[in-house]
Each structure stands twice: as structure tokens, then as C-alpha cells.
């Protein structure tokens, strides 16, 4: 080998089309991205979705109102109760069905626990996405899942199910929280809260993490509004819009909490918004467990035939703030026992739509960081 300088030859290889997914570990499910590259730079990105399309909206037209809530829990499978919560809100609004106050508080309670568990999955998988920068990424992933396991164990004790809790009923809640479980919830909230600084030190406090996320995938205010991104992605662009605050449902009108925002609009800002939301949600579960009103959790007359509940003719829209953003149900009723048309306004679908706008100009390595910071759940995208 000669000791002379290494000659670097730059050649233009033209445009390269690269298929990323649908089976790819950092696309968070079956998302396929067709990336047009010039060298390492993305010049065009085309997301291809639909691999997980299960036709839930068509199915809805064939099931009765009281049968449908568990079906939607399979949509956004990281925060199942948020889906059924939005659905029962829409049905209750259209049918003017009374919900007991305690049930409203319990719905918020389970929703907030699932927000914590969902954000922990997001943080863990973001660690995997950014891989080598974070000691292989698996460490952060394992630490997040350690905390999440405790939450799932708690939900199992409360509802009998770790995951698809089937908590929300049209007209109330299915399971009640007793004093010993409330104490367990407080202890669990304290222990997850104690783990947050550790998780932060392994991710946000890491200079390589900053390098990978700061200034990457910037979403301007105007773009965020026009495309209609939602949830933490919207709030990281400086817009303080949170359905829990702006159109309070369940118990959120009676609870006090802050809406977390950032102004940078980049991947780091989205990361920081979710990290802070973990703390907000943990405060909320403690607040709810402490102030839970007494009373029944379900006051509707027992149903002889669940397929017989009819709703009045009309249309309704109801939304909740799921961990990914505004999750809404638009129901058109023709006065029968089944929805005439039901549309799920899915937050991941709207957030993923930003991808062709923000990937071009960045590097291939940024693609995974940006996707991770958007936190799409493909079950929610494809429905």
C-alpha cells in the first residue's frame, strides 16, 4: 500500500429509487416509503399505506351501536381506550345518553395511563430508530418497557386485560376503581415519575441524540395548519391546540393541567413535547385518583337486546385527544340500530401526510429520526 493521499472520486449516480418497508423495523409497522435519492439526499418521498387496512368503517355499517366500541380499540393499538372513548362520546352526544360523573373521571384515568404507556413505547422505539447513537438503542427500549410493563400489570388488575381493556361502554364505564387500586395507582405514578429523569438522560440529554434530532424535519406553523397535523406534532410547531383543553370531554373540564408546547417544530421539539406530556399525564392520574367523585359508573337500563338500541336521525362529530392527537368519530345516523356511515378521523393518518412535505432535502438517516418523532401507528393510519 502506498502512503499517498486517498483519492476521492465523486460521481453522479443519478436518481436512485429506494424502497423502505413495508417490512422494515423503523417504519413502526407496515409503512412503505418510496424514497427518491440523489446520493444520500432525499429528493422525493412517497408514502404507501393501506397494508393494514381492515375495513373498519365498512364493518361499522353492519354492527349495532352497542357492539362497536371494542372493534375500534384495535385501531390505534397503543392507546386502545382513546378510540372507544371517542366513539362512545359520539354515540352519547347523538343519542343524548346520560353518563355518570364517576364514569367520566374513570375514562380520563384509564386514558391518561394509556397515554403514558403509549409514549413509553414511542420513546423506546425512537431509541431503536436512532440505534447506535444511544448505545445500541436497546438499553433505552428496555428501560421504557420495564416501566410500561408495570402499567400494563396495573391495567390488568383494574380491567382483567393488559391491553384492549374494553373499558368504555355507551353510557358509562365497565370497571370501577377501589381504594386499594387507587393507592396502587399513586405508587405506580410515583415510580414511573422517578424513572423519567433516567429516561431523559439516556435520550434528550445525549449530545448525539441532539445532533440527530435538532433542526431535523422542521414543520412550520403554516404547513402544520394546512396539512392539519395534530397532537404533539402540532404542539411542537408552536400551536397550543389540545382537545382536552379546547373542547373538554369526560372529566377534563374539571381537571387542571398544562398544555405542553414548543416552537422549534423539529424532531427534537416533538420529542420534548412528548417527554413533558409524560409528566403531565402522571400528575393527572394522581389528581383523578385523589378527586374521584362517588356514585355509579353505569346508569343505563340493562339491555335485553344490545342490537336494538336505536339513535335518532342526524349527524355528529366527537373527538378526544389520543396520545397521537385529535381522534374523532363522524357518525351519520339514519335512525336505525346501525351507523349509516361512520368516519374515523385518525391522527396518525393526518400526521403521516406531512412526510412528503418534510423529508425532501434531508438525509436518509434523518428519515428514521423524523418518522420516529411523528409516532405513527399503522393500525390507526389504515383502519
Amino acid at each position: 500500500m502506498s502512503g499517498g493521499p486517498i483519492e476521492i472520486v465523486e460521481r453522479d449516480f443519478g436518481e436512485l429509487a429506494l424502497n423502505m418497508g413495508p417490512q422494515h423495523p423503523s417504519t413502526h409497522g407496515v409503512l412503505r416509503l418510496v424514497l427518491h435519492l440523489s446520493g444520500e439526499t432525499v429528493i422525493k418521498a412517497i408514502p404507501v399505506i393501506g397494508y393494514l387496512h381492515r375495513g373498519v368503517e365498512k364493518l361499522s355499517e353492519h354492527l349495532a351501536y352497542d357492539q362497536l366500541a371494542p372493534v375500534y380499540e384495535r385501531d390505534d393499538y397503543l392507546a386502545p381506550t382513546a378510540n372507544s372513548n371517542a366513539y362512545v362520546l359520539a354515540v352519547e352526544r347523538l343519542g343524548a345518553i346520560e353518563v355518570p360523573r364517576r364514569a367520566k373521571w374513570l375514562r380520563a384515568f384509564v386514558s391518561e395511563w394509556q397515554r403514558v404507556s403509549s409514549h413509553l413505547v414511542w420513546l423506546g422505539t425512537l431509541g431503536l430508530d436512532l440505534g447506535g447513537a444511544l448505545g445500541g438503542g436497546t438499553t433505552l427500549y428496555m428501560y421504557c418497557f420495564r416501566e410500561r410493563e408495570k402499567i400494563l400489570d396495573f391495567l390488568e388488575e383494574l380491567t382483567g386485560t393488559r391491553y384492549h381493556t374494553n373499558f368504555n361502554l355507551v353510557g358509562g364505564a365497565r370497571y370501577d376503581l377501589d381504594a386499594s387500586l387507587a393507592a396502587k395507582s399513586d405508587a405506580l405514578a410515583a415510580s414511573v415519575e422517578a424513572a423519567l429523569p433516567e429516561l431523559w438522560a439516556m435520550s434528550g440529554g445525549n449530545p448525539i441524540f441532539e445532533e440527530r434530532t435538532r433542526g431535523v424535519g422542521v414543520i412550520s406553523k403554516d404547513l402544520a395548519l394546512g396539512v392539519g397535523v395534530t397532537g404533539p406534532t402540532l404542539r411542537a410547531s408552536g400551536i397550543a391546540h389540545d382537545i382536552r383543553k379546547d373542547a373538554p370531554y369526560d372529566a377534563y373540564g374539571e381537571l387542571s393541567f398544562d398544555v405542553v408546547t414548543r416552537t422549534a417544530g423539529d424532531a427534537e421539539a416533538r420529542f420534548q413535547v412528548r417527554m413533558d406530556e409524560l409528566g403531565v399525564s402522571l400528575k393527572l392520574v394522581k389528581q383523578i385518583a385523589a378527586g374521584l367523585p362517588k356514585g355509579p359508573i353505569f346508569t343505563r337500563k340493562p339491555l335485553k337486546n344490545p342490537k336494538a338500541t336505536k339513535l335518532p336521525k342526524g349527524e355528529v362529530y366527537a373527538a378526544v385527544e389520543s396520545p397521537r392527537g385529535e381522534l374523532g368519530f363522524h357518525i351519520v345516523s339514519d335512525g336505525t340500530a346501525k351507523p349509516y356511515r361512520l368516519k374515523i378521523n385518525a391522527p396518525s393518518f393526518k400526521n403521516l401526510q406531512i412526510v412528503p412535505h418534510i423529508l425532501p432535502g434531508g438525509l436518509v438517516a434523518d428519515v428514521v429520526a423524523i418518522l420516529g418523532s411523528l409516532d405513527p401507528v399503522l393500525g390507526d393510519v389504515d383502519r
Partner: protein
């Protein structure tokens, strides 16, 4: 419920009729009405777009929101069933692009001047539009396994 003064403003400027969640317009006025909502009334946030089939027409709905007054309005247009076609709102609200692709995919309504009107959820070579009422739940295709137990398939 949308703000009554916005509904009234749309009624004076366009031939709009109030609905439960917003207004219904003739399809020729859709884009001017959406532009007026966005630019003059501050409805800058695109919430969702959806479609529905009625006995005689397809209804296309765009929901937009004013984040200052926190008010959402649903703007509905109806198009005839024989050649369903409506102007695309994707150049007014970028968020309408995918929602309109979804409506095209599931209902078969064409959007004029849409930047990229392809199927989005169903396979590219899929025959038919599944959310139409004429599309039966047990329509067989390709690899779909045939089972004798399809509950409620008959109804």
C-alpha cells in the same frame, strides 16, 4: 355546533343552507367558500374530509377549524351518482389531499385537478369502491378465504 355568525355570513355570500354541523353548498361554490373560510374567517386548520352515500347522491364533507375561536365547521357538497365529480380542495388545504384520495378510493368520487388521485387504502388493481352501499360485505376477491361462517353477512 358552528358559530351562527359564520353560517350567516356564508348564507349571505353563497347559496348555503345550514346543516347540523355546518353548511351545505352547491358544488360549484365549494372552493370559493373554503377560500373565504380560510382567508377571511380564520378557519386555517384542516380537520378532516369524509364522504357519505345517500339515495341519490354522494356527499363530500370538509371539516375546517378556527383555532382562535376554536370553532369547527363542516362544509358539505352533494354530487350526482352517475358521474360523481367535484373540485379538489387540496390546493386550498394541503390536508385534503389524502382525505380526497381516500374518498376516491372508497366511494369512487373523482376530484378535479387533484395533484395525485390514486387509491390509498385498497390495492391499486382493486375492482370497485368498497364503501358504496352496493358493495356487499361478502364480495369475494383474490386470496380472501371463503368461510361458511360469516355472521350477519346476509343482513
Amino acid at each position: 355546533m358552528p358559530a351562527p355568525e359564520i353560517v350567516a355570513a356564508l348564507q349571505t355570500r353563497f347559496s348555503a343552507t345550514p346543516t347540523a354541523l355546518g353548511v351545505e353548498l352547491p358544488s360549484s361554490e365549494l372552493l370559493t367558500a373554503l377560500r373565504a373560510l380560510r382567508d377571511a374567517h380564520g378557519y386555517r386548520y384542516y380537520v378532516t374530509g369524509t364522504g357519505a352515500e345517500s339515495a341519490t347522491s354522494f356527499e363530500i364533507v370538509h371539516a375546517v377549524r378556527n383555532l382562535v375561536s376554536n370553532d369547527t365547521i363542516f362544509v358539505k357538497v352533494s354530487v350526482g351518482k352517475d358521474a360523481p365529480e367535484v373540485d379538489s380542495a387540496a390546493f386550498v388545504y394541503a390536508g385534503a389531499e389524502w382525505q380526497e384520495r381516500e374518498i376516491w378510493d372508497l366511494f369512487g368520487v373523482t376530484f378535479r385537478a387533484h395533484p395525485d388521485l390514486r387509491r390509498i387504502l385498497m390495492p391499486d388493481d382493486y375492482p370497485g369502491h368498497p364503501l358504496r352501499k352496493s358493495f356487499a360485505m361478502d364480495t369475494p376477491w383474490g386470496y380472501r378465504p371463503q368461510t361458511s361462517e360469516t355472521p350477519e353477512a346476509a343482513s
